[in-house]
């Protein structure tokens, strides 16, 4: 199965994915990707948030209008325009913060894994253009063969475990993904990296 692999460690924050997503036919200039600066004060770390396409998607479960459907390939689709009531429940429920409400259209729009492209065997637009390989589209064998980082598609939120179609790349052999989020008074990896490399 072709999957999207997301490796925030490689992300350079260029927003090519965001811009490319808005160019996809059918998106009407609207991008379904969030590109987050994690904590610019202390690090240049950025991370793309793309739909993980959960096997049992919370966004669909909480939708009161039953507007969010899965296709047979396990792709969680944007809300059906004729059903969506723009309530935003999906945006609140998603553990990854993916769905966006297009206020003007009162419609939830989210990544549909570039149906136009993936249905004909091409990579989604974001993964096609990503200049760092932070977004990679291929099979698990391909990504494991090419890279040192390992894919992770199980996420535990307390007792609740979510499995996803797409995967996040984590440094092997760690099973936990870390970005440079500073906790409390501690310093970011980037901050320490610079300070330790400076003469007094």
């Amino acid at each position: 199965m072709q999957q999207l692999f997301i490796d925030a460690n490689r992300c350079i924050g260029c927003r090519a994915c965001v811009e490319a997503c808005s160019e996809c036919p059918g998106h009407g200039g609207f991008s379904m990707i969030h590109l987050d600066e994690i904590a610019r004060a202390t690090t240049v770390q950025t991370a793309p948030t793309v739909c993980m396409h959960c096997d049992d998607p919370a966004c669909a479960s909480v939708c009161p209008a039953d507007a969010i459907k899965l296709d047979p390939d396990g792709v969680v689709l944007s809300a059906a325009a004729e059903r969506c009531i723009g309530c935003g429940n999906c945006a609140l429920a998603c553990p990854f913060g993916v769905p966006k409400i297009d206020v003007q259209r009162e419609l939830m729009m989210k990544c549909d894994l570039c149906y136009d492209r993936t249905s004909v065997g091409k990579a989604p637009m974001c993964a096609t253009v990503c200049p760092s390989g932070a977004l990679f589209y291929g099979t698990q064998e391909e990504v494991e063969d090419r890279r040192r980082a390992r894919p992770l598609d199980r996420f535990a939120f307390g007792e609740h475990v979510i499995t996803t179609r797409n995967a996040v790349m984590v440094p092997a052999p760690t099973a936990r993904f870390e970005v440079d989020v500073p906790h409390g008074a501690t310093r970011s990896r980037a901050e320490l990296m610079l300070e330790e490399a400076l003469c007094d």
């Binding site: 350079i12 924050g13 260029c14 811009e19 998106h27 690090t43 091409k122 610079l194």
Partner: protein
């Protein structure tokens, strides 16, 4: 007097920059394209393959070109949104002539006649060299070649230079000295099989984003990464070793690394003996550059310098990549030579996965520096002062060698000569010096003193606002041609659409002008391919030998790496295999480099180092990218990056406005307080004009060999703006906007 006759408000209202967000008719109107045109991005030297989508003879979008080998569909945000420069409301559609209130329309014939007449009149009164030509490294090879020929034969002036003077000349001069040829030694395809990638002065992730994936592919195999940069850039964040060098101290650092390499026994004695000259002097020179001796000056602990040397020695295959960060210096050539010394001493060049490259910055930064638009150069990367080279080119052009002018001024020297009244007329194409040259106040003064200025441009750039006549030229996607990418790969630029309105292909305009200047028969080209044929024939036998390259071959092979001397020759992706260098004796040259400080060092009045550079969403002087809405939104205005320690001393919080002042001028902008820059250094990106121009601060100090400006080091002071102060400065800003710049710039 070439002073704009309309206020900035009026000029901006008529000519922009306005922001374009959508294809013509909006996204909803975009259907299946009528055709997809395989071409390349118009911006940086990576020259990513893209497909432009054309509908109803208009460019309406972009699609990745996944078959092009260099980028395989990968693009940065500029490449994705570059199509929005077409169909742009700011596009120049008619020839313009200066009027009492900005510009008025003028018919083509009248405009061209006036240009020729004014040029000839100036030359009759003040000599042939009183008119200069400025051109650019975003031009195709065909146009770059044409501009050199035009300046020397049609204008007859020795003063032609290009904006690559601000980009590639330090690396170029050093490569020529060391290797006898000026081109990336390895194709990018060698990067992934390297064991150690060392990146110096190159914010790869923002300035050449596609290179990021090449580096990561090496790291996926276990390669190490060393990054040398005063800022913790995105690629530096995950590096195995990060060396946050003080701006302007690179040659000392590199000498120290080589010092340790020698001590560790890392010298490839066999290679040095068989393939190089001059190592003994380098040996003697770097002896004094111990890590302890340089640590304070370069601002990096000795242990880190030793670690870098150890990693270099231990890696069987290394790739050393550098860019403007070590080249924009008064010792840019020396910094590059110090890199090359390290590569040569360890014999780490000319092999698969093992070599060296400067990361060329401009779209045709490589080809643009080979075909004769430089002040000291003739086509084929020939030397304008070499009698044999002159005779060859003169013969091909059908003139006596004496007819060819000699070496002219560099672009900054041209601006200085304009300022002092020696040069009175200017012809420009693809160059926006008011934004891109150091000391923008000086540049503005110079432009205002011109007797006559004709600009060929597609948008009215900040510089072109000073023109007497503006001729509407072509965007990259409106003409055929070739460029040579950072790898040395000659590739095809294809026309997607015709120039709009009365705009014309640049080469037609130049040929028409040449005809009016009495040289019509030497510029009787009917299509760009004919220019390429002449260029390739003329380059044959030169260093940059395109003799065996045709457009057909480029298309068939997805690009041809020069040198390619014969039709049967496949091209040369990797240089220096078997230790064969391009000097006549086949040997590379070491050059001992003594460290010397930057032209301007910090003191009590100006205690902070300013360094300048780029952001990923903008390109160079922003003539195109400041008109593309989604790119502008990514990074709307320049901010000054300040480390929290320095910010605390200044009492400045993130987002607050500060005034940054150098000996040349001052600008006000918001602070970006970040722990990702050296505490003794601040950074401002340079893509903006007027009161937001980083080049109000930079120093008119140049490398003595290459003439590249020291954009990367200036001394500044920073003050937090208080309310009263802000009001006063706003008045100054207004002064700048109404074209009275000195009041704002001198403090």
């Amino acid at each position: 007097m070439a002073k704009p006759t309309a206020s900035l408000d009026v000029l901006e209202d008529r000519h922009g920059p306005h922001l374009s967000y959508e294809p013509p008719g909006g996204f909803a109107a975009r259907g299946e394209p009528d055709r997809k045109v395989k071409t390349h991005c118009c911006f940086c030297g990576q020259q990513c393959g893209v497909q432009l989508l054309v509908q109803n003879e208009r460019v309406v979008g972009v699609e990745p070109w996944e078959d092009f080998p260099f980028n395989g569909g990968k693009l940065c945000p500029k490449g994705v949104k570059r199509y929005l420069q077409n169909n742009h409301q700011d596009r120049l559609l008619h020839p313009l002539v200066r009027s009492g209130d900005g510009f008025g329309r003028i018919p083509w014939d009248e405009a061209l006649d006036q240009v020729a007449e004014r040029i000839r009149r100036l030359q009759a009164n003040h000599g042939v060299d009183s008119v200069a030509v400025l051109s650019g490294a975003s031009l195709t090879n065909e146009k770059a070649y044409l501009m050199g020929k035009f300046a020397r034969l049609a204008v007859g002036s020795r003063h032609i230079d290009y904006n690559g003077r601000l980009c590639m000349v330090a690396a170029g001069a050093a490569n020529l000295k060391a290797f006898g040829i000026d081109r990336a030694a390895n194709p990018w395809a060698d990067i992934p099989s390297s064991d150690l990638v060392m990146v110096l002065g190159s914010n790869v992730s923002e300035c050449s984003p596609i290179t990021t994936d090449y580096i990561w592919r090496a790291r996926d195999r276990g390669a190490k990464l060393i990054v040398v940069d005063p800022r913790l850039t995105p690629i530096a964040r995950t590096a195995d070793l990060f060396l946050p060098v003080r701006p302007g101290r690179d040659s000392a650092l590199l000498n120290a690394i080589l010092n340790v390499v020698i001590r560790l026994g890392g010298v490839d004695q066999e290679f040095v003996a068989a393939h190089t000259n001059g190592f003994d002097e380098v040996l003697r020179t770097v002896e004094r550059y111990t890590p302890d001796a340089v640590a304070q000056e370069v601002g990096i602990p000795a242990t880190r310098i030793i670690e870098a040397a150890e990693m270099w020695v231990q890696a069987p295959r290394t790739m050393l990549l550098h860019a403007r960060g070590i080249e924009h210096h008064t010792k840019g050539v020396e910094n590059v030579l110090a890199c090359i010394n390290l590569v040569l001493a360890t014999g780490k060049i000319g092999k698969p996965g093992c070599g060296y490259a400067t990361i060329t910055g401009q779209g045709n930064g490589q080809g643009g520096r080979e075909h004769g638009q430089r002040c000291n150069q003739l086509p084929g990367a020939r030397d304008i002062e070499n009698p044999a080279h002159r005779a060859h080119v003169a013969g091909m052009w059908g003139v006596e060698p004496d007819v060819l002018p000699g070496k002219g001024y560099t672009a900054p020297q041209i601006m200085e000569a304009i300022h002092r009244g020696e040069i009175r007329g200017l012809i420009s194409l693809c160059f926006n010096p008011l934004v891109s040259l150091p000391d923008a106040t000086f540049t503005r003064e110079a432009l205002e003193r011109l007797d006559f200025y004709v600009a060929i441009d597609f948008f009215l750039s900040e510089t072109a606002r000073h023109a007497d006549i503006v001729l509407p030229g072509s965007l990259q996607e409106e003409d055929e041609g070739t460029v040579t990418s950072a790898e040395g790969r000659v590739i095809r630029i294809r026309k997607a659409v015709e120039p709009p309105g009365e705009a014309r292909a640049d080469w037609r305009i130049v040929c028409d002008l040449a005809a009016r200047l009495g040289q019509g028969e030497r510029f009787a080209f009917s299509k760009p391919e004919e220019i390429f044929t002449e260029l390739s024939r003329l380059s044959a036998g030169g260093v940059a030998d395109y003799g065996g390259i045709t457009w057909e071959k480029i298309e068939r092979q997805m690009g041809v790496f020069w040198p390619c001397p014969t039709p049967e020759h496949p091209g040369t992706p990797r240089l220096f295999e078997g230790g064969r260098f391009a000097h006549p004796d086949g040997r590379a040259r070491f050059h001992a480099v003594e460290y010397r400080p930057p032209a301007e060092v910090t003191d009590d009045d100006y205690p902070v180092v300013l360094t300048t550079g780029r952001v990923v969403s903008q390109f160079l002087s922003g003539t195109q990218t400041r008109r593309i809405g989604p790119l502008v939104e990514q990074y709307p205005e320049p901010r000054v990056e300040i480390h929290p320690k320095l910010a605390a001393k200044l009492g400045v919080a993130d987002g607050e406005r500060v005034r940054v002042t150098s000996r040349r001028g001052a600008l006000e902008l918001r602070a970006l307080v970040v722990a990702t820059i050296r505490p003794d250094t601040v950074f401002i990106p340079y893509h903006w004009p007027g009161a937001l121009s980083a080049n109000l601060l930079t120093n008119r100090a140049y490398d003595p060999i290459a003439g590249i400006p020291e954009f990367k080091v200036a001394a500044v002071r920073i003050e937090k703006l208080v309310a009263d102060d802000r009001a006063a400065q706003t008045a100054d800003e207004r002064a700048v906007e109404t074209e009275v710049p000195r009041a704002a710039a001198v403090h």
